[in-house]
């Protein structure tokens, strides 16, 4: 009896410990961001903030060019996700639905492209962008972010397209739809979970990107939020309140998107992987 109680207990105890380990850094970020400086720099940590202050958020958003960084990050991320979705949709349809010579080569090629070590290629990219006189511009960033997302989007969508029963499309075509019409009216709506999952991961990749923008854009006017955040600690010394407020602001959109879409996205992704 005792053993079975123990057997039932230990997974739950482990789970609680793990949950705390996972969540504590995130919790501590938010807690610090809302605490007055006196509580942050206390000899004994204040585990639960009682006095709530927004002062640190004011410091963080009061940084020069803050709204430029926000605008730049949003522009680059949204455009890159949109471009890669459009390009990948066309390609994934071909790879999932059509038979043609070299199909295998394309798939293998995109799989290799998916593992491209972008952080290592920054010197070459810097030279290319510099030779094109495009440093400190959002255009190369958008293009390269599109490419970073593209192989994953394409291969994943291919799985989702393949999972849509071909009969649906055929019956639409029997009913007089052309192939593009059948695609738009029948397949596209069924691809919604796939589009959501891939755009979520694309969004995270582009929103997070740090190495390329660090090297390419030295002008504050063309920089994005990861750079703003990375400079924070050096700029503000030990103003941990402001640093954590900045981190919170940067993380919140992703956390919300992720928690909101995760169940759909992950179940969609596994479905795509298994079926596709």
């Amino acid at each position: 009896m005792r053993r079975s109680l123990f057997g039932r207990l230990w997974p739950n105890v482990t789970a609680v410990v793990l949950f705390v380990g996972c969540v504590f850094p995130v919790y501590w970020m938010f807690a610090t961001a809302f605490k007055p400086t006196g509580d942050i720099l206390a000899e004994d940590p204040v585990w639960f903030p009682t006095d709530i202050t927004l002062e640190h958020f004011r410091t963080a958003t009061g940084v020069e060019h803050f709204w430029t960084y926000v605008r730049n990050s949003l522009t680059v991320t949204v455009l890159a996700v949109a471009f890669s979705l459009i390009i990948a949709l066309a390609g994934s349809f071909a790879l999932a639905r059509m038979r043609f010579k070299g199909r295998r080569g394309f798939i293998v090629g995109f799989m290799l492209a998916q593992m491209a070590p972008w952080e290592v290629m920054i010197i070459a990219i810097y030279m290319i962008v510099r030779d094109a006189s495009m440093l400190n511009s959002l255009v190369p960033l958008t293009l390269f972010y599109t490419m970073m997302i593209l192989p994953f989007t394409l291969l994943t969508l291919r799985g989702f397209v393949a999972a849509v029963p071909k009969e649906l499309e055929e019956s639409a075509m029997v009913d007089g739809c052309t192939r593009p019409q059948a695609f738009r009216r029948v397949i596209l709506p069924l691809l919604a979970p796939g589009l959501m999952a891939t755009s979520l991961f694309g969004f995270i990749t582009a929103w997070n990107e740090f190495a390329l923008v660090l090297v390419l854009n030295k002008d504050a006017g063309a920089q994005t939020l990861p750079l703003w955040l990375s400079r924070f600690q050096t700029q503000f010394g030990n103003d941990w309140g402001a640093t954590m407020a900045a981190s919170s602001l940067f993380a919140v959109p992703i956390l919300i998107l992720f928690v909101y879409l995760q169940r759909k996205a992950v179940s969609g992704l596994t479905a795509g992987a298994v079926k596709g």
Partner: protein
């Protein structure tokens, strides 16, 4: 960001093959010619983007690695070829080999920790009750979703010398010399924090994917195993493990790539310091190439880094490519 166990549609594909060229499909010649071109046209944008935005930088990197390109040449837009000098200098420098060894050890340690912890947590998720599982999943997803740069600053704060929570806890636990410990002061302590950070960020992906994989194991397999008199351990090694093997391979492969190029975490946490002792290959290429403005040299290091990464993943790549060939 997901496990791609590439399994193309086997059934429908064969059917499709038959009805594409089969009789009773009266297609006018013009239409069939357009149909033959169709897939290539659909793939054209993706291929053009790949060649232009990925192929060109790769080629450029190789070209740069054979040039003497420093600040002076950069300003004058001069191209000075210098053969294999950059490679000779890199491969004979002790630093490069030290950094390479460090990168490989760093990757191996992190990936081993991530895979073991991730697999254990994945299996734990399968054993938990519904409510507890949901709670732990939420926690894992939160850690997974934290953006890299934000997570790195949070870890700087957790491990801060003054007022950092970790030092406070260690002090309270009786390890008083840690009360004012500076985690960025030595190579090992820096690597320790970076490893904790990377493991914390990467485990959820492995755990959740593995848990998702266990839910697809058919129950009949376990029933059959228990009919054959297999105990819990035996049915784990005979059913669970073989079933999860492809997922374990695929996630290990992805983790090797991600950890190996963990540029932002290492650079942001301690700038590769102290004394450049925590630089891993991507950071080393960046510091030599961009920081010290030896662009040609940096490009050569980058080429070598890519080759090393290919070497580390070659085994798995071969398996995947072969699988693709067999199944397509």
């Amino acid at each position: 960001m997901t496990v791609q166990t590439e399994r193309p549609p086997s059934g429908p594909a064969d059917v499709r093959k038959a009805d594409d060229g089969g009789p009773g499909a009266p297609t006018p010649r013009a239409a069939s010619r357009a149909g033959a071109l169709g897939p290539y046209l659909l793939l054209l944008p993706a291929c053009a983007a790949t060649v232009l935005l990925l192929g060109w930088p790769l080629l450029k990197d190789v070209l740069l690695s054979f040039q003497n390109l420093n600040m002076a040449q950069l300003i004058q837009h001069a191209t000075e070829w210098n053969g294999v000098d950059n490679y000779k200098e890199t491969l004979t420098s002790e630093d490069f080999w030290r950094v390479t060894l460090r990168s490989i050890l760093f990757t191996a340690t992190n990936v081993a920790l991530i895979m073991i912890l991730g697999a254990l947590i994945g299996l734990l998720l399968a054993r938990l009750g519904k409510r507890m599982r949901f709670t732990l999943l939420i926690g894992l997803v939160l850690a997974w979703a934290m953006p890299i740069v934000a997570a790195t600053t949070v870890y700087q704060w957790l491990f801060a010398q003054r007022f950092g929570v970790v030092n406070w806890v260690l002090d309270r636990l009786g390890w008083h010399s840690m009360a004012d410990y500076s985690w960025t002061s030595s190579q090992m302590s820096t690597f320790f924090v970076v490893t904790v950070l990377i493991v914390w960020m990467s485990v959820p992906f492995v755990a959740i994917n593995l848990y998702a994989a266990t839910t697809t194991i058919p129950n009949e397999l376990y029933e059959a195993a228990s009919l054959d008199g297999a105990g819990a351990w035996r049915s784990f090694t005979a059913v669970t493990l073989p079933f999860l093997r492809p997922f374990l391979y695929a996630t290990t492969f992805l983790e090797v790539i991600w950890v190996f190029k963990a540029f932002a975490q290492v650079l942001l946490f301690n700038q590769g310091g102290p004394d450049r002792l925590t630089e891993i290959l991507p950071v080393y290429a960046y510091v030599e190439g961009i920081g010290n403005q030896h662009y040609g040299m940096g490009a050569a290091i980058a080429v070598l880094t890519i080759l090393i990464l290919l070497g580390l993943t070659a085994h798995y790549l071969r398996i995947v490519l072969k699988q693709e060939e067999d199944e397509l």
